[in-house]
Amino acid sequence: MSTTRKRVYGYLAEFGSASALYKAAEKVRDAGFRKWDCHTPYPVHGLDAAMGMKRSILPWFVFFGGMLGTATGFGLAYITQVEIYPTVVQAKPANIFTVPAFFPIMFELTILFSGFTTLFGLLALMKLPRLNHPLFASRQFHRATDDAFFIAVEARDPKFSPDGTRQFLEDIGGKSIELVEEED
C-alpha cells in the first residue's frame, strides 16, 4: 500500500441520458467552469453550443496551410519551368501566362498542405498523441464508449473546490460521482 498522496484529476459524474447530459452541460457552462468535458458514446447534436465551446482556431491554420501549399506549388512550377529550364511546347509561352499548366499542381499542393495542417494542427490542439489519460483510472469510465454519459470537471479549473463541485454536480443531476485520481 502506497503512502504517497495521488494528484487529483477531478470529478466524474454520470448522467442518465443524452438530454440529461445536454441540460447539465448548459448548467456547467453557466456556472462558469472552463476546464471540463463531456463524454458520450455517440455525437450529440448541439452539445458544443450547450457546452459554450468557442470556435476552434484550426480553420485559420488550415487556411494559411492551404495558402502555403498554393504558393509552394506555384513556386516549384514557376522556378523550374520558367526561370531555370523553360520548356516551349506547341509554342505556348514560358512566362507568367503559363499559369494554367501550373494550376493542377497548385491545386494538389493546396489540398495536401491543408490536409496536413488539419491533421497535425488537430493533434497539436488536442495535445495528442498521449499514452494515457487520468480518466482511465476510473472504473466506470469505460462505459462512456457503451451506454453512459459523463461530465468530467477538472481540478485545474479555477472554480473547482472539493466539496462545492461535488455538491454542484449532484445538484444538476449527476449520479455515481467519483473523485478521479491520477495513476502513478
Binding site: 447534436h45 450547450a50 506547341q90 509554342a91 505556348k92 494554367p100 499548366a101 494550376f103
Partner: protein, 454 residues
C-alpha cells in the same frame, strides 16, 4: 439546436399563403414592364434596321439564356430533392418547385430565337443550310436525320458549297431536328416540373395525407432527371455553342449546368430570405436550412470553377485550332480583363467568403453573397454570348467592317433585353409563389425538415 422545437401544433392546418397587396403590385408592375418592354423588344428584333436588329438578337439570347438557366435550375433542385429522398429541404421545396414552375413560361421569351429573321444573325450554320437549300433546290426536310438515314440531297447541296464540317455535323445540325429539340425542351421539362409541382400541391389539400404523393414524386423524378440533363445540355449546344458551329467543347453542357444549379440555388436562398422578412416560412425554415443551402452554394461554386478550368485547360493544352478560337476572342482586348475578373469574381472571392460557417447561417449575409453570385452569373453569360456578336455581325453587316472586339453602344440593348426577360421572369415567379401555400404543410416530412440540424 438551441432554437425551439417545432411540433405539429406550429404548422397551420390549412398551410400558409402569401397574401400581400405589396407583392401584388410588384407582380403587376413586373407584368406590365414585361409587356411594354416586350413590345419594344419585338420592334427591335423584327422591324428595326439590320444594325439594331442584329446586335439586339445577341442581347436577347444573352438575357433569355440567363433566366433560362435559373428556371432550369429550379427544376433541377426539385428533381434532385425528390430523387435523393431528402428530408432536410421539405420546408423550402415549394420555393424550388415555384422557381421551376417559371420554366414552361420561358418558352414565350424563346420564341424570337425560333424566328428565321433573328436566327440569321445568331446561327451561321442555319444561313449556310438555307443558302444551300435555295441554290441547290434541296428541301430542309430531306436533311432531317440525314446522317442516320442517308437522305442525300441536302448533304450533296452542302457538299457542293464546300461545307464539309456541316456535312459531318448534319445529323445533329439541321433545322428540322433543331426545331424538334427546341419544342422538346419546353414541352418535356415543362411537363416534368408541372407534374412534380402538381403532386406536391395536391398533397396540401389532401384530406387524408399519406406518403402516396411523396412516393409518386420520388419515382417520377428518377427517369425524368434524364430529361433535365438532356434539356440543359442540348439547349446549351443548340442555342449557345451553335453560335459558332465549328467550335466544340465536350464540357459545355456540364459547364452550363454548374452555373445553372449554383445560381438557381442563389435565387432560392434570396426568395426564402425575403419570404421570412415578409413574415412567412417563420416556423419551418431556420438557420440550419440556410446553412445547408449555403453549403450547396459553396459546392457548386467549386464545381463551376472545376468545370470552367477543365474546359479551359483541355483546350489550352490540346491547342487545336477549332477549339481555341472560342478563347481567342474572349482573351482579346477588353474581354481578357473580363475573363480574368471572372476567375476571381466567380470563384476565388465567393469561395473564400462561403467557407465561413457562421455566414451561411445568417440569411441576410448569405443573400448578399447570392446577389453577388448572380451578378457574376450575368458576367459569365455576357462573356459567353456577347464577344461573338462583333465577330459574326462583322461578316453579315457591311457597316460593321473593322469593328474589332465590341460594337459601340450595343450594351444598351443588352440592358433592355435583360430588363425585359427579367421582369417577365419576376412576374411568372411571383405568380407561381402566390398560387400555392408557401411550404408543403401536409408533407409527412415537414416536421423532420423543420427540426433539421447539421
Amino acid at each position: 439546436m438551441a432554437h425551439d422545437f417545432v411540433t405539429s401544433a406550429d404548422i397551420p392546418v390549412d398551410g400558409e399563403r402569401i397574401s400581400s397587396s405589396k407583392l401584388d403590385s410588384v407582380k403587376r408592375i413586373a407584368g406590365g414592364a414585361a409587356g411594354l418592354l416586350g413590345l419594344v423588344s419585338a420592334y427591335l428584333l423584327f422591324f428595326s434596321p439590320d444594325k439594331v436588329a442584329g446586335s439586339y438578337a445577341y442581347s436577347w439570347l444573352f438575357a433569355f439564356f440567363f433566366f433560362f438557366t435559373l428556371a432550369v435550375g429550379g427544376c433541377f433542385w426539385t428533381l434532385l430533392h425528390n430523387v435523393s429522398n431528402s428530408g432536410w429541404g421539405t420546408s423550402v421545396r415549394r420555393v424550388m418547385e415555384n422557381l421551376g414552375a417559371v420554366f414552361p413560361w420561358m418558352a414565350i421569351f424563346a420564341i424570337p430565337l425560333a424566328v428565321p429573321g433573328v436566327q440569321k444573325w445568331l446561327y451561321e450554320w442555319m444561313n449556310i443550310h438555307r443558302a444551300a437549300a435555295e441554290t441547290h433546290h434541296a428541301s430542309i426536310f430531306q436533311g432531317f436525320l440525314g446522317g442516320f438515314y442517308g437522305s442525300p440531297s441536302m448533304k450533296d447541296a452542302l457538299e457542293a458549297d464546300h461545307q464539309g464540317l456541316l456535312v459531318n455535323k448534319q445529323w445533329y445540325m439541321n433545322q428540322v431536328a433543331w426545331y424538334c429539340r427546341f419544342v422538346f425542351y419546353f414541352l418535356g421539362l415543362g411537363l416534368v416540373i408541372k407534374t412534380l409541382r402538381g403532386f406536391s400541391v395536391a398533397q396540401d389539400t389532401d384530406p387524408n395525407p399519406t406518403t402516396k404523393n411523396l412516393f409518386k414524386a420520388r419515382f417520377h423524378s428518377t427517369y425524368t432527371l434524364i430529361i433535365f440533363a438532356i434539356t440543359i445540355t442540348f439547349a446549351g449546344i443548340d442555342l449557345l455553342q451553335g453560335m459558332k458551329f465549328d467550335w466544340f467543347s465536350t464540357m459545355w453542357g456540364v459547364y452550363l449546368f454548374a452555373g445553372a444549379a449554383l445560381n438557381s440555388m442563389a435565387v432560392i436562398i434570396i426568395t426564402a430570405t425575403l419570404m421570412q422578412k415578409g413574415g412567412y416560412l417563420k416556423r419551418v425554415v431556420g438557420p440550419e436550412h440556410f446553412h445547408i443551402m449555403g453549403k450547396l452554394l459553396l459546392a457548386f461554386t467549386i464545381f463551376w470553377a472545376y468545370i470552367a478550368f477543365s474546359q479551359f485547360f483541355l483546350i489550352w493544352y490540346a491547342n487545336i485550332t477549332e477549339e481555341t478560337s472560342w478563347y481567342l476572342i474572349r482573351n482579346t482586348g477588353g474581354w481578357n480583363t473580363a475573363s480574368v475578373f471572372l476567375v476571381f469574381g466567380h470563384f476565388v472571392f465567393p469561395f473564400v467568403i462561403l467557407l465561413q460557417a457562421w455566414l451561411k447561417k445568417n440569411p441576410k449575409l448569405l443573400s448578399i453573397v447570392c446577389v453577388y453570385t448572380l451578378l457574376m452569373h450575368i458576367l459569365d453569360y455576357y462573356i459567353i454570348v456577347i464577344p461573338e456578336r462583333s465577330v459574326s455581325l462583322m461578316n453579315l453587316i457591311p457597316d460593321y467592317k473593322g469593328v474589332t472586339t465590341s460594337i459601340p453602344g450595343a450594351f444598351w440593348g443588352d440592358i433592355l433585353a435583360f430588363l425585359t426577360v427579367g421582369s417577365g421572369f419576376v412576374f411568372f415567379y411571383l405568380r407561381a409563389l402566390t398560387q400555392t401555400a408557401t411550404y408543403p404543410h401536409r408533407d409527412p416530412r415537414i416536421l423532420e425538415s423543420a427540426n433539421v440540424s447539421n
